[in-house]
Each structure stands twice: as structure tokens, then as C-alpha cells.
Symmetry: C2
């Protein structure tokens, strides 16, 4: 079957923020995003996985230019919303494969993750939609990650590689 | 500015699986997806947020028809990959807003989350891409979630609401 992966994208302009153990109650995520929005922070990814007991972790990526502001905003909201730790990390990159109908092919994500594993690149966060699988990796491994994934899907010159945001 | 949200989608056909505390090492995510792919399980969402110490949680949604098979596959891989707990949950729904350029408008995700909060609906997982924000909520609150989000963005009859997968 024709391979559904149309291209690989690399975003080097993002930084990561994570809040550990926010109360798992209605309204918490809304407050966090409202705080960030009110200060004009453009959030790129929002990733919240399975909760444990009564709390959950929530991670964001924001343009690196907004990291300091976003960190301040989230730290200011900590006592009101009931969390403590805000972790920030500038040294990340987001590498994605894009293509329609991709996620329905069960082996596509496995091949992307395996390409990173063979290059000994740790996957720090994952988010998917029907047309995109994104992984956050160390920024200093970004080009290697891009090359490994590009080779795995035999993307030749015609296919889109976009670097930047 | 013209509102970038084009529609709301509700998927009632998914079930959730989460593995808590997988080793945060290259190759683990690849093995998990390879195991699922080799058995033909179509994974819809893959959500992995910030790691803590040397481990991380990874969650999936799969068609409810595949839940039992997926659970068996992941339990079989547990001792080899070094985790213990596989949590499954059939009673979920995925509600999403779709539209181009949405995530760049910082207030859009906040409005979606706030619509759910006002309806006292807890957000269990979150995944975003540039054109889609998806939330996992309790299945019995799915229609209420859809209605709350639809009302928030004033989507009239012309806008797309898709229910199903
Ligand atoms: C947890 C899992 O994603 C691991 N970090 C990997 O790269 O496979
Ligand atoms: C953790 C956070 O997402 C919470 N569950 C909420 O609904 O806002």
C-alpha cells in the first residue's frame, strides 16, 4: 500500500513546561490556559496523560521566546490552583511525521519510534492526531532524529521537510 | 477576528489503555507500538507527557473492539519491558475541536476547557496538534461535553459535528 507518511517536520523553536501533580478537578486546565492566554502566550502542544490517584501532570510547549513569561504565569497560579512544581526545559525539539490516514496504519508510529530507538534517541513526550505523530526529543539530537525518521520512511527530495516552527 | 474553530467531533468508539511507570529508555515506546501493530491493533491516540525520575506513563486509545486484545498484548510485554500496571477503561469519549490556525490563538483551548469546567466535566487526557484539540472525558458525559463546547463556539447548523469514529 502507498505509504501514508507525506513528510517530516522539525520544530526547534519550542520550549517545554510541565506542572507535576495538579489537582485532577474540573476547571484546573481551564485556569492554566486562561492565565497563559491572558498574557498572550501562544501554546503549541498541550499533553496530559493518565491521572494517578487525584492528581495529574500537564505539559505544554511554548515558543522559546515566551518561556520565561509562561513560567512566571504558571508559578504565580501555583498556590491558587494547588500545585508546586513547574519544570521548564529549553533544550527540546519537536519532530513529527505528517500524512493523512497515518494513525490508522498501526505500524507507522511503531516505525517512527523504532527509527528513534535505533539512533538511541529517547522519546520524552508523544502527542498524536489522525494526521500527525509528534515526539519531543533532546534538542542536541534533533537533526539526528530528523535524519533517522527521514531514512526510515524513504522520503526522497520531493517530500516535505520543514525545519523551523 | 474570524473564529478559527470549524467544528466539534465526538468519538464514542474508543477505549483507553495506560501503562504506568515504563522505563524511560530508548526503544520502549517502539516495542509497545510494534507489539500492538503486529496484532493489528489500530491505535488512535498515543499520549505521553513529562517523565518523572527514570520512568514515564504512556496512554493509548484504541477502538473498543480491540481493547481486550490490546490489553492482553501489553500485559504479555510487561515483564520484558519492565513495567507492571496496565490500566484499561472502556467508559471514555474523545471530544475535539477542529480548525486551522486554532492553536495559535491562545484563548481557544482555554475556552474549550472552560466550557467543560462550567459543565463540571473533568478532563482526563489532553492531546493537541495545530488543527485539533482533543480531550478525553467520561463516556456518560460525552453528549453534555459536546453540547457545552458547541455552545461555547456558537457553532450553528452549518458547522460540522461528527459523532462516531
Ligand atoms: C517512555 C518511552 O517513550 C521511552 N522514553 C522511549 O523512548 O521509548
Ligand atoms: C488536570 C486537569 O486537566 C483537570 N482534570 C481539569 O479538568 O481541568
Amino acid at each position: 500500500a502507498k505509504i501514508p507518511v507525506k513528510g517530516v517536520a522539525l520544530d526547534l523553536n519550542q520550549s517545554q513546561l510541565a506542572i507535576l501533580r495538579v489537582p485532577d478537578l474540573p476547571g484546573v486546565a481551564a485556569s492554566l490556559l486562561e492565565q497563559l492566554a491572558s498574557r498572550g502566550v501562544c501554546v503549541d502542544m498541550i499533553i496530559q496523560s493518565q491521572s494517578e490517584q487525584n492528581s495529574n501532570d500537564i505539559a505544554f510547549t511554548v515558543p522559546s521566546t515566551d518561556l520565561h513569561l509562561a513560567e512566571t504565569v504558571l508559578q504565580q497560579a501555583a498556590s491558587k490552583l494547588g500545585y508546586r512544581d513547574v519544570i521548564s526545559d529549553r533544550a527540546i525539539a519537536k519532530v513529527s511525521i505528517v500524512g493523512t490516514g497515518m494513525i490508522q496504519h498501526p505500524g507507522i508510529a511503531a516505525r517512527m519510534f523504532n527509527a528513534l530507538a535505533q539512533a538511541n534517541i529517547n522519546i520524552e513526550m508523544i502527542a498524536t492526531s489522525e494526521i500527525k505523530v509528534s515526539c519531543v526529543v533532546r534538542q542536541d539530537l534533533a537533526i539526528e532524529a530528523l535524519r533517522a525518521i527521514h531514512a526510515e520512511f524513504n522520503l526522497d527530495g520531493n517530500d516535505k521537510i520543514s525545519i523551523g516552527s
